[in-house]
Amino acid sequence: MKPAIAITGGPGGFLRRFRNNIACLRYEPTILVAVVLTLLLTYLVLVPLGSMLLDTIRVTLKDSATTGMERGSFTTYFLQRTLASRVSRVLFWRPLLRTLLVSFFVALIAIPLGALMAWLTIRTDLPGRRFVSSVMVIPYMLPSWTFAVAWLNLLKNRRMGGAPGILENLGFIPPNWLSYGPLPIIVCEALHLFPFAFLLFGNALRSVDIQLEESARVLGAKRSVITRRIILPLLKPALMSALLLTVSRVLGSFGTPYLLGSVVKYHLLPTALYNSFKVGSPGVAAVIASATILIGVLLVTVDTWFVREFKRYITMGGKGAMKRTTPLGGWRIPAGGLAALVVFIAVVLPLGTIILSSVTMQAGVIKPGNFTMAFWVGKEIPAMPGQNGVFFNKEILLAALNSLRIAGFAALIAGLSGLMVGYIVVKLPNTAIATFLRQVSFLPYLVPSIGFAAACLSFFAVARGPIPSLYGTIFLLVLVMSMKYLPFAARSGIAAMMQVGNEGEEAARICGASWLTRIRRIVVPIQKHALLTGIVLPFITGMKEQSLVIMLASPGTEVLTTQILRYIEYGYSQLANATVLTIVALIFGLTFALERITGGNLASGFGGSN
């Protein structure tokens, strides 16, 4: 038992103090890790966002060439042009209005549908309710743009070019309003989003104790009164969350409006932003991106406020939380039919058209003799010069490799940083640095994907100091994706660390274990499931990410999801569909594997941004 630091010298000598502090850091470097992480997050999250906000009033290189204003000077020109000029209607206001309109109708379909399905599967004797409720999360796991691809498979007409859809081949030529524009966008988004409402209402319904209803019945309330005065008020928080989530999802999703709206120039904010970035002025794009961020922040703020407001609504699922179902009686068969129809439209039909489409020689023509495996294993596909089937296709394989690499590294970075944020929050509670890390790691959640991508693109595309321009590199995609997924990873990291607490590591300190030993032998093994989940979930989300990568991908850094868009633009719809299936298979395989390993139900933990 001897003091570790035997440095001679006068008491209180600066050198001695300093050396002692350094020596202590070796044993307890948490603060060092926290400082590094803080600097990193500041640079990767705060600075790009701030820089983009600044770009709304600052002239960029490209804009200085087109407008003749001096680069770097400040102006309100872009704000005026986007918000109050002759073109602002087209640039901003119409897409905004349409976004809100689409969100409204999506919510109108998705929320009642999700709530109804939740009620049917949880509170009634619906035939096959277990099956229905497990299948119901599939549309949620599918990438949102899957539905748009399936819609085109089924209902595409000649306008878009390329092969027409299945219905047109069967002799029914869909009118434009059915093939493109608001209606298909609304339906596709609603089909993707109603499982959100299903899960939210399901959880809420499960937490409502049946005794609450029974108390009302004992006091003489009728069924309708109980529903109106007891159940519905208790579901209000779920309703608000579902509503806000719907708007925020529509605001952040790019693929669906791009595939179904662009042909008829029906633009929502994400596609308008994309267009401004690709062909228009960076200043205008910055204004639109800032607007989406503003709306995103607003939505989350309102949601947080509601959650807090409704805290007093939290129902205690005490011992008496019995499960009791309402018999549907004569409605049992029609209700079962409805559930089957929903499963068919939301799961079977889209996946079916995609599978079909990937194995038909002439796209969308269903007749014997037209089936082929060429798009999977063929070489030199006729009518598609230079294209092989998925398994031999250089473009697809490169995109797949990119997807795996990008999502993989991003997930690794997000998962590890998330856990580190959790570690620091638990180790240094109530410190400014922990609060800062917690809040900054949450910030990307407020920002719609495409807005975040825009911010990072404009910041990292230019060489800054020692860091070269990252445009066209995989590195850029990895950085952006890891930061965008950090909120999920950090939240689960904090929860996991909180749950386990600090004492396990302290016990190891007492035993004389160094920091690295503690991390290696105590912290990581204890948190291995949390770590695995924190990495695999962002990985899965990353594999299907489109909104975030669409602006960042360039030739050579195309990923599977952007490659699909290219193929659809070329009219190679079978290849596109085969690629979609590849992604879907990867997602389901990984999810299944993760569920088997961690023993948890991940469906409710899914939080993709597209």
Partner: protein
């Protein structure tokens, strides 16, 4: 040898809360010292500072005269190098390691070779009577077993100083008694210095060789258990130690704590010694003799008694003793007796207290020395 000295140790948390306030205490080698006090009194903080998990804001901590922490010299010996043992309230067993692996960890950190390690682990598990559990994981153990593993893990490295942070508070009453016996036995066999944090006076009283009573970050009294009980240094100690607590009455006219009625302390006249400055009188429940109104205590001999009439409010038999609640002069008194008091049916009794058993406290709430 392991003597721990704390000199003027301070610890202030964010928001200016003084968790530990100018604490000076010497814990002699081989002693079993309890830090006793209500929650938030700074006892756990003190323990964590000794362990090195928390750094003081000022003062010095020494182990056998060697500095572990010194504000003046800017010196901190990290936890890892202090070579102490600490058992947490939550046990903090590593859930991914078996019992044997948990116990072996500290030995591995010391670089002990495999054979010796296995031997030592077996020895310690034997000592704690848990040899049969070595292959199990913590989740497969009961609370009492986890407790034993947590102790074994720390005892394995034979620390000179063993720190225990409310180790028994998560056990049920029966197990707690069993573990108290066990801890006392261990201390007597191993002879290391033990610092034991608890808010349970029974634990402190039964196991310790010395108790340090703390309140609001300050050391109130540091003495042997019976001394703490029989001669509490101040009102805080007097009211915290003892169950049912000491009956306290305040002198007329002095500012009492809110809600406490002031009382005529005519009994002070019983004392021959100095009375100036006396403010509060304390009576232990078991020192109160309940007698029929107007009678004299039997076997009173030549002892002087203070006698006062009281109205019986409630009788609480616990099985081993009788606790009687009474009211007199606006103050509730509790008396406890081993045998059923004889005279409760009348609704009124006389409380008789030997003058020698009275505790008197000065205006600054410290114990008054009476000649």
């Amino acid at each position: 040898m392991a003597t721990i000295e704390l000199k003027h140790v301070d610890r202030t948390y964010g928001g200016g809360v003084k968790a530990v306030d100018d604490l000076s205490i010497t814990i002699e080698s081989g002693h079993f010292v309890s830090l006793l006090g209500p929650s938030g009194c700074g006892k756990t903080t003190t323990l964590r500072m000794i362990a090195g998990l928390d750094a003081p804001d000022g003062g010095e901590i020494l182990l056998d005269g060697k500095t572990l922490y010194s504000k003046r010299e800017g010196l901190v010996v990290p936890t890892e190098k202090r070579g102490m043992g600490l058992v947490f309230q939550s046990y903090a067993l590593w859930p991914h390691m078996t019992v044997a692996q948990n116990v072996a960890f500290g030995l591995e950190m010391k670089g002990m070779e495999r054979k010796a390690k296995i031997l030592r682990v077996g020895e310690v598990l034997e000592l704690m009577h848990i040899a049969s559990l070595e292959k199990r994981y913590p989740a497969q153990l009961s609370g009492g077993q986890q407790q034993r593993v947590a102790l074994a893990r720390m005892l394995a490295v034979s620390p000179d100083v063993l720190l225990l942070d409310e180790p028994l508070s998560n056990l049920d009453a029966k197990l707690r008694l069993e573990m108290r016996v066990e801890l006392k036995r261990l201390h007597e066999t191993l002879g290391n210095t033990v610092i034991y944090v608890t808010h349970d006076q029974l634990e402190a009283m039964t196991m310790s060789t010395k108790i340090a009573v703390m309140n609001e970050g300050k050391l109130q009294q540091y003495s042997a258990p019976m001394e703490i009980y029989q001669k509490p240094a101040n009102l805080t100690v007097a009211s915290f130690v003892g169950n049912p607590p000491m009956n306290l009455v305040r002198k007329n006219g002095s500012a009492g704590r809110s809600g406490e009625p002031a009382w005529d302390l005519g009994i002070l006249d019983c004392f021959a010694g100095p009375k100036a400055g006396a403010r509060t009188i304390g009576v232990r429940p078991e020192d109160i003799l309940l007698i029929r109104p107007g009678s004299r205590p039997t076997h009173s001999g030549e002892a002087a008694y203070w006698i006062r009439r009281a109205r019986v409010e409630t009788v609480l038999p616990t099985g081993s003793e009788w606790i009687v609640g009474m009211e007199t002069g606006g103050v509730r008194f509790f008396a406890s007796a081993r045998d059923e008091p004889c005279c409760l049916d009348a609704g009124e009794v006389d409380m008789a207290v030997p003058i020698a058993s009275l505790h008197v406290f000065c205006e600054d709430d410290t114990r008054m020395k009476l000649s």
